[in-house]
């Protein structure tokens, strides 16, 4: 997400004019009237002028002989971005804002989109907004979020529920939303109510934004008789339904569509019908609301974990370089394969030695599949069995690489014993490994 450039531009100052001034630009061949805007583009050979018609144009500076100021810019009032952090969550849906496109605004002067909407601005136009208690946690694009942010979100969610919130909606950038939803799924133990992450694929400054629909649906889901961590986004291209997806089973599968999030390997938890306000449960795995007394927070993570994609031609040194990590998720091919060259082909570039060295040195290695859909099974081909014998994890699991990565951090945060780590990684804790491969999960 581009960050706005601020400050007046020096070349305009050459002519004694500043951004926001109403000016008359006199060029060798024409005269233009309008408001001087700061530059959005890198090139400093042009100035941007907003004409009276509302259109912007760029004028080459070398053609300008003079800029006359008609009106000086009015002083801008600082936009207050943060509101009172004191919130009463009791009997309300807590709305925790973490930035991203859903909370983004266009900087009309520069044209850049930046995260700046306050939670209450977000709620404008949402029905029954008085039943919602908004709180701004931070305003960060989701590609910039780190595991420390997950911890903060988990803590805030935990305390909001402990303070009586009947559900939690977390607005979040979409790019890494499924990492956060997986992290919250492990850190928040026995959640008594729905914790729903939502975002938008079209920014709130356009008439076609999906933000109001997604937010309305997320609030409906947060009030429903459900418990757990979910992602709630558009189900299809239309504004009539949203899909509620289990937090460990969600993945962003499209760069731009509203329905970018898909439920991987299992049916979505529920469909939310916007017109009727109905939350229709679909999955048998849905849990009902539970007692708050069992609800716990456990944010211990070992973040010294990496993901490594496997591809034809991968250099053995790329694997060897992973030895400084405590855990590695290898994203293998097909059913869970790595190039280990059992057939001794002269052109192959095996990495078996390096993977074995990682395992021998005590690095926890988990194998996921780049197919994304389906279960890993290393028994089917001989080269898979070799890996299994070496102690690689992931056999018969169907976690997405991202969920496996987050889970490995959480497991290594609690356990050092390789045997126990393997046991925990291959055991279903919070729905991340589905008991059976559903016929309708793809």
């Amino acid at each position: 997400m581009p960050k706005p450039k601020t400050g007046a531009q020096p070349i305009s100052e050459q002519f004694g004019a500043k951004e926001g001034d109403e000016v008359r630009v006199i060029c060798s061949d024409a005269v233009y009237c309008g408001m001087l805007l700061p530059r959005q583009a890198k090139s400093d050979e042009f100035i941007t002028l907003k004409l009276d018609s509302g259109y912007n144009i760029g004028i080459q500076i070398s053609k300008i002989s003079k800029i006359e100021i008609i009106h000086k810019a009015a002083k801008k009032e600082a936009i207050t971005q943060h509101e009172s952090q004191k919130q009463k969550f009791s009997e309300k849906v807590a709305l925790l804002s973490c930035g991203g496109t859903i909370a983004s605004r266009i900087d009309y002067r520069t044209g850049a989109v930046y995260p700046a909407l306050t939670p209450s601005q977000l709620l404008a136009g949402i029905p029954k907004a008085d039943q919602i208690a908004p709180k701004m946690l931070f305003s960060v694009a989701s590609e910039d979020l780190s595991p420390q942010h997950w911890v903060k979100i988990a803590q805030e969610t935990h305390s909001a529920i402990k303070e009586g919130a009947i559900g939690v909606v977390i607005t979040h950038g979409t790019d890494t939303m499924h990492y956060t939803s997986a992290a919250l799924s492990f850190m928040l133990i026995c959640p008594p109510c729905p914790i729903v992450l939502t975002g938008s694929q079209r920014s709130s400054d356009r008439g076609s934004s999906d933000a109001p629909i997604n937010l309305s649906a997320a609030i409906l889901a947060a009030k429903a008789d459900l418990a757990g961590v979910f992602i709630c986004m558009h189900e299809g291209l239309s504004d009539d339904r949203c899909s509620l997806i289990f937090g460990t089973k969600a993945r962003k599968m499209h760069t731009s569509r509203r329905d970018a999030f898909r439920s991987i390997n299992v049916s979505p938890a529920a469909t939310i019908h916007l017109d009727s306000g109905k939350v229709e449960k679909i999955s048998e795995l849905c849990k009902s609301r539970a007692k708050t007394s069992d609800f716990k927070l456990d944010t211990k993570l070992n973040t010294n974990v990496a993901i490594q994609y496997i591809y034809p031609g991968i250099k053995p040194s790329a694997i060897a370089a992973l030895s400084s990590y405590d855990g590695v998720v290898l994203v293998g091919t097909g059913l869970g394969h790595l190039p280990i060259n059992l057939s001794n082909d002269p052109l192959a570039m095996p990495i078996l030695k390096e993977v074995c060295a990682l395992l021998d040195s005590g690095v926890a290695v988990y194998l996921a599949s780049q197919c994304i859909y389906g279960r890993v099974n290393m028994n089917v081909y001989t080269n898979g069995r070799v890996l299994l014998e070496k102690g690689i994890m992931g056999h018969q699991c169907d976690m997405t690489p991202e969920t496996a990565y987050v889970k490995l951090m959480w497991v290594l945060g609690h356990e050092k014993n390789p045997k126990k780590v393997k046991e925990l990684m291959e055991m279903n804790l919070v729905g991340e490994i589905s008991p059976k491969s559903e016929l309708t999960g793809y």
Binding site: P2, D29, A30, Y32, Q40, A41, S43, F46, T48, L51, S53, G54, Y55, N56, I57, G58, I59, Q60, K63, I106, Y108, R109, G111, A112, V113, G125, Q201, R202, S203, S204, D205, R206, G207, S208, S209, P212, I213, G236, L237, S238, D239, D240, T255, S256, R257, R258
Partner: protein
């Protein structure tokens, strides 16, 4: 009166911000994908909500989009950011700027113009100023051009809230004149000039709906009104005259109403009249009540007689108010200046209504029926319109009879903000040069054509100039003269074909084939040019032209195939001499028998030599 026009002409190029092809005029793709959306009003860069946008949001519509996969992709569905601008469309816009002497901007900034009536999936239209200033010559002097913009075509309305995405995103050039016209005739002439100049470049789409005129009209004492979508040039003058008449009438009516009301405002009071009509003989009303509708009325104090005043042909002040009621989904309204008895309302019911609304002789009233909330909303809109006491600034839709109907309030400045998904585009010296050269080439070609046409007799020349839509256009054909018929004519003459034969083949022969029902569009420049080349090479004689062309169209063959299949290869030289010997016939008999294969002049020569 002050009037300016905006010409919107589709550019002959693929979509502006994706790589989909553009459908031709009035073509719609098969609608394979359908989805529904809601659009919301948003704050603009001036932190204001545009009144036109707010108005549309108030309508709270579910918009249905039908998307053809051939002519649309995720960009049209607002599911993917725009691709970079189509360079061919931009080139065309630069050519138009040169054509009108408009100063091209150094750097192009694509803007979003908020439009949330559903005609754009994104909630805005992408548009950019390409040129500023310039002029077009008319019989009443030069008319200044304000701006030349390049923008996206909107989605076509199928019906109600349903839109088709076929045409969404087709590049348009928008040419706005200064508001200098003093009469409708002047505006009409300028529009004709601009349209003709654009078409001559060959860079624009042709056909119904590919050009549209918007009018900006201000009447002293009235307001600025934009009338959108005048499709026929000949309607411009009428539309303007009717609008001036409408505004003048409205000014009169409001003056009268204000005087009668003594400058006092009145309140919107809605009265439920459903019970009065429970036994009504009016089929329309009883049917509605039967299906759960409510009837509400509102008094318009001191308005007696005003609602019936004509403001435009076939339109009364009451029609104007009904336009506002319709926005809430009602079919219209009934008012006291209409003959309500003709709708089946009884005298008694009328008396009861008047009593319920406490309407005196000086007052007027309006009645609406339908869903209770809709009726109340509609009456509120009617009240708002009636209390403007003047001409509101409006965007209106042009009707085919020259009148117009209300669409929405005129948008303010708050409707434009930058398209953040596209960086500004620097117009390089190379791009400018290319556009200039293209225009020069076009002008030279035009001159050349003119000189070739001057070889013809005036009648045939005029006929040839007017010959349109007989053959198809093949974009790869050089020379690039926009009118395919003229392009082939030039090619043929330059390759040594006799001008009058070329011209009469293109006009008379093809025209009569068309009349026979032959699809002459099977031919394009390339095919017809190869026909003339084959003639020049002596493959066939003039008399066989019609038969060969007919065969080429009907059987979709090349000229050579047609000649072979029809057995019309020209008999010439030695072959002809042998034929003369073999047949032993005289000139006239031989010609009668071999008319389609023998050139009369050659045969004549043979006969005179042998003597």
């Amino acid at each position: 009166m002050k009037c300016g026009i905006e010409i919107h002409q589709r550019i002959a190029a693929g979509k502006l911000f994706c790589r989909c092809p553009s459908p031709s005029a009035d073509e719609m793709g098969q609608k394979e994908v359908s989805f529904t959306r809601k659009l919301h009003a948003v704050r603009s860069e001036l932190d204001e909500v545009d009144r036109a946008a707010l108005f549309e949001e108030m309508r709270q519509r579910n918009i249905v989009y039908k998307a053809p996969t051939r002519y649309s992709c995720l960009v049209e569905a607002d599911e993917e950011p725009p691709a970079s601008i189509n360079p061919h469309a931009l080139h065309a816009a630069l050519v138009f700027c040169h054509l009108f002497g408009s100063r091209i901007v150094d750097e192009l900034h694509v803007m979003r113009k908020i439009v949330i009536d559903g005609s754009n999936t994104s909630g805005f239209q992408r548009t950019a100023v390409v040129g500023i200033g310039g002029s077009v010559s008319t019989s009443f002097g030069k008319v200044g051009i304000q701006t030349i913009c390049i923008e996206e075509e909107s989605a076509g309305i199928v019906q109600g809230n349903e839109f088709d995405l076929s045409r969404l995103g087709i590049p348009l050039v928008e040419i706005s004149t200064e508001p200098v016209f003093e009469s409708g005739k002047q505006a009409e002439e300028a529009a004709l000039q601009i349209g003709t100049l654009l078409r001559k470049t060959g860079l624009v789409q042709r056909g119904i709906g590919t050009i549209r005129q918007d009018l900006n009209i201000s009447v002293p004492g009235g307001a600025r009104v934009e009338i959108k979508g005048v499709q026929e040039l000949s309607l411009i003058a009428t539309t303007i005259e009717i609008e001036v008449q409408r505004q003048s009438a409205l000014i009169e009516i409001s003056k009268e109403a204000k005087e009668r009301l003594n400058d006092k405002q009145f309140q919107p009071i809605f009265v439920d009249l459903t019970d009065i009509f429970s036994q009504t003989g009016s089929q329309m009303i009883s049917k509605a009540i039967g299906s759960g509708a409510k009837v509400f009325g509102m008094k318009l104090p001191m308005h007696a007689g005003l609602l019936g005043k004509q403001i435009a042909p076939g339109r009364r002040y009451g029609t104007e108010l009904a336009d506002y009621a319709r926005l809430k989904g009602l079919r219209g309204l009934l008012h006291s200046d209409e003959d309500l008895l003709s709708y089946g309302v009884s005298e008694d019911e009328l008396l009861e209504v008047k009593a319920a609304l406490s309407v005196s002789q000086k007052d007027a009233f309006v009645l609406c029926f339908g869903d209770q909330q809709k009726v109340k909303d509609a009456l509120f809109q009617v009240w708002k319109r009636a209390t403007v006491f003047g001409v509101p600034e409006e965007t209106r839709k042009a009707n085919p009879d020259g009148t117009s109907s209300f669409m929405r309030p005129l948008p303010g400045k708050a409707r434009m903000y930058p398209e953040t998904d596209l960086p500004p585009i620097i117009i390089s010296p190379e791009m400018l040069q290319q556009a200039k050269e293209a225009l020069l080439k076009l002008e030279e070609a035009q001159k050349e054509i003119d000189s070739l046409i001057s070889l013809l007799n005036p009648e045939l020349a005029a006929q040839l100039r007017q010959q349109k839509d007989t053959i198809s256009h093949n974009p790869s054909f050089e020379p690039k003269i926009p009118q395919p018929e003229l392009a082939v004519f030039a090619f043929a003459v330059q390759n040594g074909v006799e001008p009058s034969f070329a011209a009469s083949t293109i006009t008379n022969t093809l025209q009569s084939l068309k009349r026979e029902g032959v699809n002459t569009k099977e031919l394009d420049e390339e095919k017809l040019a190869s026909f003339f080349l084959a003639f020049k090479e002596g493959l066939f004689v003039k008399a066989a032209a019609a038969d060969i062309l007919r065969h080429m169209c009907n059987k979709k063959t090349t000229v050579k195939q047609a000649v072979e299949q029809l057995g019309l290869r020209k008999i010439t030289g030695e072959q002809l001499a042998n034929l003369v010997k073999k047949e032993g016939l005289g000139f006239a008999q031989l010609m009668q028998k071999y008319r389609l294969r023998v050139d009369a002049a050659e045969l004549q020569k043979l006969f005179s030599n042998s003597k």
